[in-house]
Symmetry: C2
Subunit: 150 residues, 2 copies
């Protein structure tokens, strides 16, 4: 994995670890534009009592607020787990250029599993997707989190 990708994915993992500390499913996300971090977020479903408060949706909303634009055309998104169908579609609506994810999610993912949102003929914008960039770290974080809860 090239240095830059690794750096941003590490930032996404920071968000995931902070989410775990809050008792949330440990998933983190950052959005990058022009070599700068535009937004960072972790999962906050329980804290906000909002089923849509996934890391990616929060990061997209924060990035759009910051830029004053509902499109993030030159932005790249890094997330520690394969986006779910909701987030995958939101990424498409936001016109995000590239998606880097750490671990695949065969049970809940919507990019390379399940509905494969970007493979649908009705999908208008398909980001470039790079998966599996830090699979072990992501899986371990989720495994530890759910093991503690059993």
């Amino acid at each position: 994995m090239p240095v830059l990708q690794s750096k941003w994915m590490e930032k996404a993992f920071c968000g995931a670890r902070r989410a775990a500390e809050r008792g949330e499913v440990p998933i983190g996300c950052v959005i990058i534009a022009g070599g700068e971090m535009l937004a960072a977020a972790g999962n906050r479903v329980l804290e906000l009592k909002d089923p849509t408060a996934h890391a990616e949706l929060l990061a997209i909303r924060a990035a759009c607020e910051k830029t004053g634009n509902e499109r993030l055309s030159d932005c790249d998104l890094y997330v520690t787990l394969e986006p779910c169908p909701m987030c995958a579609q939101a990424i498409s609506f936001a016109r995000i250029r590239r998606v880097y994810y750490a671990a695949p999610d065969p049970k809940g993912g919507g990019v390379d599993h399940g509905p494969r949102i970007y493979a649908q003929p009705t999908c208008h914008h398909r980001p470039d997707v790079y998966g599996g960039l830090g699979e072990e770290q992501s899986t371990q974080l989720l495994r530890d989190f759910f093991a503690e809860r059993r």
Copy 2:
């Protein structure tokens, strides 16, 4: 269409018309629990500069805030257009019981078209879906809106 369904769908259409007045794509949504309107919203993508500000997502977030719960298990959702994949998945995450939509959306829908979110084996909660309840009114509203913009 039974009287109650018609009443709530009419409320959803009010939200759609108000969205059109704001220059937004005219889609409206209400969430009902125990015969009461828990939340109502229209599309606000442009106003909020937020690509996730679809009527359904805004209504879900408002209803969850009102109830203090990230699950809306006994709630029904009425919307003037077939939900997109993002909203369809959010409806599933929110555990909404029934979805009533006015017009089908072959180009952008995610319930009975495209990825058919609830037909995916990986989908954990499938609401009961009733489509086509007011198709003509919804289609006309959208047609007028886009005709004005041409």
